[in-house]
């Protein structure tokens, strides 16, 4: 099987897995405790890295852009640039990549270990559909947690940018805040939420698919974990490109 066929097959299988798990959400039994546990692991568990990533990304944006903007006498627009960059692009993508690294790998490793120790077979033998019991709660938890984490990263990023601008470059606080207020539109906020929703599906489906498809014992668990993180990261970035363009067209943003 060549690379293109394999990639298409993976895309098909991951899409079917996501569709099956989402379809399972509307039928009994519903695994609410599992979903809440996953939201705790994915959402609450990722808070620290998201806070740090968001804050310092906003800070570094200010560090990198302020001198250039100053050259053109546009230093008052620092907040505008930081806010637009974060809400439209960096917030959703960085958040998705951080969650892929932390959560995607964990999902893949956990499911892979369950496969090699025959726990998935045992689950099926005991009359439980692993897609509904294991995949659906994880994807649903990602769908709820990732947009919230992205909003948090955006807010903290802007805060990080403000701290840097005010403390390092002596930009007046009101100027920074006003430019942020001017920058963010409703369309940006819609785009900032739509993207994490799509990324959640991508991360969840790929990580679960790779985990459930593990072969070859403990070495196979390592392989599928690596494959899950690499594939999900690349697909997130590619999807971001198409989503950005699609949202521009749909929402009519410049």
């Amino acid at each position: 099987m060549n690379f293109a066929t394999r990639a298409l097959l993976e895309l098909q299988e991951s899409t079917l897995l996501a569709a099956r798990s989402l379809g399972g959400l509307f039928r009994k039994p519903r695994y609410l405790p599992e979903t809440i546990a996953q939201m705790d692991a994915i959402g609450v568990g990722s808070l620290t890295i998201i806070i740090l990533t968001g804050f310092f990304t906003g800070g570094v944006l200010t560090v990198q852009t302020f001198p250039t903007l100053k050259t053109y006498g546009a230093q008052s627009q620092t907040g505008y640039l930081v806010a637009v960059s974060l809400v439209r692009e960096l917030g959703p993508v960085l958040c998705a990549l951080m969650v892929t690294g932390r959560v995607g790998s964990a999902i893949s490793a956990e499911l892979g270990s369950m496969v090699v120790s025959q726990q998935i077979d045992a689950m099926r033998a005991l009359g439980t559909d692993p897609v509904r019991k294991l995949v659906a709660p994880r994807i649903l938890a990602l769908l709820i947690s990732l947009p919230l984490l992205t909003v948090l990263a955006d807010v903290l990023g802007i805060f990080g940018g403000w701290v840097t601008a005010v403390a390092l470059y002596s930009v007046p606080s009101t100027i920074f805040v006003n430019s942020v207020r001017d920058a963010i539109t409703t369309d940006d906020l819609i785009g900032g939420v739509v993207k994490p929703l799509v990324f959640s599906l991508i991360i969840g489906a790929i990580a679960c698919r790779q985990g459930l498809n593990t072969e070859g014992g403990t070495v196979g668990v390592g392989r599928s974990t690596t494959r899950a993180v690499v594939t999900a990261s690349i697909v997130v970035i590619i999807a971001d490109y198409f989503l950005a363009k699609a949202l521009q067209v749909i929402l009519g943003t410049p």
């Binding site: 120790s117 726990q119 045992a122 033998a125 005991l126 009359g127």
Partner: protein, 297 residues
């Protein structure tokens, strides 16, 4: 009075008739194999795993499947459970053709079947109690009914003391026994054992075989017992479980009081059945592979 008497007699006649009908129905039910394979073929790419396999496991019978590694023994169990699908042929469970069943349809079939995995396959994140109770929890059985049932099953495998332990705290033999308790919850009439004694010390292996014998002789369970260990064959085909006068389960050797007819042996090699019959006829078989397998050299 007379009318009452006639009525009572009629009732008795009708009760007898009903009992006879129930017996007939029961006999007919018993004539339906618990598991049946009809010309089942399975191949992975060019490698044939099962080559037109046909056999039956009758109600209350234990079918011991012997054979070397890679002979397709465990694949049979996966096919029964619908974890794999055959390329051709038919698989019947309790008279029901499950060959083309979807994953969703198989869920109800799997409720009739208990499965004991090679390494126990316990859920690491759940305690022994939750592992054994898993099937009942999934079915939404109230907790006050779950606990006595879990305790009963753990008593059956002599592990009631381990009820609150986590799987990581258990020895290999204990994990297998918890696996058996988990498989037996809900009283399935078919139990599949996938090399349950592999890697265990002889006394623990004997304990696992005794559990299989108790299921066969006291619970009327039909089972497939996949193994490559000859002492398992020796135990299961030559001993049976009975309840003595004090109510204790004891194991007696075949021939003292009765002859075992509910244990059959099937030997596989490279996806083909090379022997099917009793353990006595297996020992008399002239096939060099079988003789080598029995002698171990």
């Amino acid at each position: 009075m007379s009318s009452t008497s006639i009525h009572t007699t009629d009732d008795r006649i009708s009760d007898d008739a009903a009992e006879s009908t129930f017996r007939e129905v029961d006999d007919l039910e018993r004539a339906i194999p618990a598991i049946e394979f009809r010309n089942v073929v399975l191949a992975f790419d060019d490698r044939v795993i099962l080559n037109s396999l046909s056999f039956k496991v009758m109600k209350g019978e234990t079918k011991i499947i012997l054979g070397g590694s890679g002979g397709g023994k465990s694949t049979i169990i996966k096919l029964v459970l619908g974890l794999l699908k055959p390329d051709s042929g038919q698989i019947l469970v309790d008279g029901e053709d499950v060959t083309e069943y979807s994953e969703y349809q198989m869920m109800s079939v799997r409720k009739k079947i208990g499965m004991v995995f090679q390494e126990g396959a316990l859920f690491d994140s759940l305690s022994v109690y939750d592992n054994v109770a898993y099937r009942l929890h999934e079915q939404g059985v109230p907790e006050e009914e779950v606990e006595p049932e879990v305790r009963r099953m753990l008593r059956f495998v002599n592990l009631e003391d381990a009820i609150d332990k986590m799987p990581i705290e258990l020895s290999g033999g204990m994990r297998r026994r918890v696996g058996i308790a988990r498989a037996l919850i809900g009283d399935p009439k078919i139990v599949l054992f996938d090399e349950p004694t592999a890697g265990l010390d002889p006394p623990t292996a004997r304990t696992i075989c005794e559990l299989a014998m108790k299921l066969r002789d006291l619970e009327d369970v039909s089972s497939i017992f996949v193994t490559h260990e000859m002492n398992n064959l020796e135990y299961i085909c030559s001993e049976y479980a009975v309840v003595d006068d004090e109510g204790k389960v004891v194991f007696e050797r075949e021939g003292e009081r009765l002859c075992l007819i509910n244990s059959k042996v099937m030997m596989m090699r490279q996806g083909n059945i090379i022997f099917s019959g009793t353990d006595e006829s297996l020992r008399r078989a002239s096939d060099p592979y079988i003789q080598k397998f029995l002698r171990g050299h």
